[in-house]
Symmetry: C2
Subunit: 129 residues, 2 copies
Amino acid sequence: VGTPSEVVRGFLAAIEAKDVDAALDFLADDVSYENMPMDPIVGKVATDAVLRSFLEPAAAVEWRILREVVIDELVVNERLDRFRIGDDWLELPIAGFFEINDQGLIRRWRDYFDMGSYTRQLAALTGGG
Amino acid sequence: VGTPSEVVRGFLAAIEAKDVDAALDFLADDVSYENMPMDPIVGKVATDAVLRSFLEPAAAVEWRILREVVIDELVVNERLDRFRIGDDWLELPIAGFFEINDQGLIRRWRDYFDMGSYTRQLAALTGGG
């Protein structure tokens, strides 16, 4: 069992490798994945589907940690999540709050970001040829 | 000079009182107010104008701290910012990062939230009669 910071960094590294199976290994079975203010996505099966859906269009993925704060079982980070679409990068500033359980698994993953910034960039990068 | 937590809580209390002059007293002259991913609003004069513009339509304001993490001069909070518009409340989940300087003033205020959630609720509450 790694430290909370190691768990989150391992998870993000798996995301960057687009290895969803490896990423899921860092999540508790009853994980709550919360893109604020949308309804929580609960459980590994539902999270699996969402992760694949937004990693699939990206030729490469970088989720850069710009700042990390750890208090007990809580890891907070400011990130710049980047997705390469064709020859360009979609970039999204995100604040993430990860709660780690006693088994060293992520039981809550809450991200705050501007959804419109994501959808506008995705439309521009996929529709603009 | 208060602790970083006291500074942020004093600032938020002034916002809730819709007392922009009192709120500005908690900010450094060169404050950077950053609604991610928009360009920073720099300086008290510019911040003053923005604060008044979004407090003005609200009959009442509540910015509830749901979680607070303090590391040295950094205060991180998860908030539910609420604005009463007519008989209803606009509610916005926010992640805030506040950096406090040596004088006990906020020198950077960075908020992460979904702007579309704000604009859609505001349109519904002001346009729906």
